[in-house]
């Protein structure tokens, strides 16, 4: 994979709340992340951890009300996206940063042809193009994702789920974005189609040298596609590092739990080994470490304050005060 260390986007201390009738949901609580040019970062966490909120937050697509970006900075090409006026943000969306949404069945407008929907994003960012150029461009995009260009005038209901997701990918990549936010792009698809779609995303992103944030809860997908991995829990990054660091030396108890929960083919396992307990109620988060109530390694100090994200070597960062103990546990695990 082409990898440079040039920084593409840097998120600093991002806080996002949803203000609902039942109280304030703290969806993101101080997320900091950096993505480099051409890199693929896997963002892993369970449902409700704040993965989608983070991606939508980067594009400022959080519906307001109820969503509020409370504080933080998102540095992209020297500018703080959170400070930009709306029209400048519109220039970035679809052009520099694109997003693929979770459910292909509902992500395309049912009353527009797929061609119009691809052309729309191209025209929006290249208003100087005439009709034929737009048509040629959108046909090329469709071919690129493996759909014959003569289907350009068809409507989404004439396509299967996997094909729709390809169209969505064509829309997202049409303007050659620098960053692609893929929010569980394959969760709603059959396993066989999943592999095809992921292969296609991987090839295209290499071809276009696009960086990608791949949101998923499937560690297998992460292992195959990502250079780096960030584990998110209750709106906080709890561990972030290179693929090898996370899979070979998992250090945060939550990461260890996630990896232990993968059933092994080699061993005869009677029962799955899940991370016990539930994620805390985001309207009423525990003080201190948010994973403490479910943690095997919990001690008194855990509940006192939120642990910092500390570097345990070579950019491998962990938000746990017991990282030494957990690491020695993880190394004896096999």
């Amino acid at each position: 994979m082409t990898e440079t260390n040039q920084e593409l986007i840097r998120i600093e201390d991002l806080f996002i709340d949803y203000e609902t009738d039942d109280g304030i949901v703290h969806a993101l609580n101080g997320v900091s992340l950096t993505l480099h040019v051409g890199e693929t970062l896997g963002l892993v966490g369970e449902t409700g951890a704040g993965k989608t909120t983070l991606a939508k937050g980067i594009l400022r697509l959080i519906p307001d009300p109820p969503g509020k970006i409370k504080e933080g900075k998102i540095w992209f090409e020297g500018k703080d996206l959170l400070e930009l006026p709306e029209h400048a943000m519109q220039e970035i969306r679809g052009q520099s940063i694109s997003m693929i949404f979770q459910d292909p069945m509902t992500s395309l407008n049912p009353v527009m042809t797929v061609g119009e929907q691809i052309q729309e994003v191209i025209r929006n960012h290249n208003p100087e193009l005439d009709k034929e150029e737009l048509h040629a461009w959108s046909c090329a995009m469709l071919e690129k994702v493996g759909i014959s260009a003569d289907r350009i005038d068809e409507y989404p209901h004439q396509f299967s789920g996997g094909m729709k997701q390809r169209v969505i990918i064509a829309i997202a990549l049409a303007c050659n974005p620098k960053l692609l936010l893929a929010d569980e792009p394959t969760t709603a698809l059959d396993v066989t189609i999943q592999a095809q779609v992921l292969d296609m995303i991987r090839t295209l992103k290499q071809e276009l040298n696009t960086a990608m944030m791949l949101i998923t809860h499937d560690l297998g997908v992460v292992a195959q596609n990502c250079n780096r991995v960030a584990i998110i829990y209750a709106g906080e990054i709890v561990e972030i590092g290179d693929l090898r660091q996370i899979f070979k030396r998992p250090t945060h108890p939550y990461t260890i739990g996630l990896l232990e929960s993968i059933p092994s083919l080699a061993k005869d396992v009677e029962r799955l080994n899940p991370v016990k307990g539930m994620m805390p109620d985001p309207t009423d988060l525990p003080p201190g470490c948010k994973f403490a109530p479910r943690c095997k390694f919990v001690c008194e100090r855990c509940a006192q304050r939120v642990p910092d994200l500390i570097d345990i070597g070579d950019g491998h960062m962990v938000r746990c005060i017991n990282s030494k103990d957990t690491q020695s546990y993880a190394s004896t695990r096999e």
Partner: protein
């Protein structure tokens, strides 16, 4: 598509049969002797009997019904008891007046209803939304004739700006006389359109494809117009179509309040004078108009939503074509 339209037109036949059947028998059962209505109280018993034979009133009900149907197929809806003019001619004479009022009323409803509905949905739960919801509740609840009376009190009697009665002949007087009845009809319909637009749009606003559209970097205006509105249109078209169908059949209360020479008033007058063929003819005409507008609405669906279009195509196929 054409097959579907033909099918729908054929389906109007049983609907009309049903309507004529019900109305014919209800009117036949109403008390009062048509012969006495035509000849007046002073007529002799022999004269009445002769009239009854002439009108075929002594035949059994079913025979009369079938005779009526046969005449209807030939376009003959009978003659009015009151003035001996053909019912069909009178209906056709009044229909343009009603149509003008209906179009004006629906325009008022659309011009008020759609923009306010959109604003209301986009600014859900704000002061603007709440105000428009309360106003539309008032609009739905307020009886038409009462609003009409209030309007003519203010603008015709007090301010003297607009006529309160009748329909102008020339273009400008016609427009002037149209304002008050059109507003009276339009506000009621507008209230329904506001609520329909708002609720339908609110459903669409939360859809994933709206997020996709925004993620393309489209300006919010285009997202609203191209993505939200077109998808929200079907329930709105349905509501507007129903309202329009009703208005085309004549707005009885509004036409009476403003002495508008349309179908609604014709109907009210005919009921008052027990002019049975006239009432029957007018009701059948209303039913035809209503079914027709509904058909148009269903065809419009196909142009809004390609999924419906492909369904219509399938519905139009006969078995033979499917095999071929």
């Amino acid at each position: 598509m054409w097959k579907y339209i033909l099918k729908r037109l054929l389906m109007m036949i049983p609907v009309l049969l049903g309507v004529t059947f019900i109305v014919f028998f209800i009117l036949a059962m109403t008390p009062g002797d048509p012969a006495a209505i035509i000849l007046g109280d002073q007529a002799s018993a022999e004269a009445l009997e002769l009239k009854r034979i002439e009108l075929g009133l002594n035949d059994p009900l079913l025979i009369r019904y079938f005779n009526y149907l046969l005449n209807m197929i030939r376009g003959d809806l009978g003659t009015s008891y009151k003035n001996q003019i053909s019912v069909a001619a009178q209906v056709i004479d009044k229909f343009p007046n009603t149509a003008i009022l209906a179009v004006a009323g629906i325009l008022v409803a659309l011009l008020i209803g759609i923009p306010i509905g959109i604003l209301s949905a986009k600014k859900q739960y704000t002061a603007l939304d709440n105000t428009s919801m309360v106003l539309s509740l008032v609009g739905v609840s307020m009886p038409n004739f009462w609003l009409g009376l209030l309007l003519s009190l203010l603008f015709a009697l007090k301010l003297g700006w607009l006529p309160s009665q009748g329909m102008g002949e020339e273009f400008i007087p016609l427009l002037k006389s149209l304002v008050l009845p059109a507003i009276t009809l339009g506000t009621g319909a507008a209230a329904t359109v506001v609520r329909m637009t708002r609720s339908s749009l609110l459903e669409v606003i939360r859809q994933d494809y709206i997020s996709t559209a925004r993620a393309k970097g489209l300006p919010e205006k285009i997202v609203t117009k191209k993505h939200m509105l077109k998808n929200a249109l079907i329930p709105i078209v349905t509501a507007v179509g129903l309202q329009f169908g009703q208005l085309l059949g004549g707005a009885m209360l509004t036409e009476t309040v403003f002495s508008w020479p349309g179908l609604g008033r014709l109907m009210v007058d005919s009921i008052a004078s027990k002019d049975i063929p006239m009432v029957l003819g007018a009701v059948i005409f209303m039913a035809v108009m209503f079914s027709f507008v509904n058909l148009v609405v269903d065809i419009v669906y196909a142009f809004i939503d390609p999924r419906i279009k492909s369904q219509y195509r399938k519905a139009g196929f006969t078995k033979k074509e499917v095999r071929a």
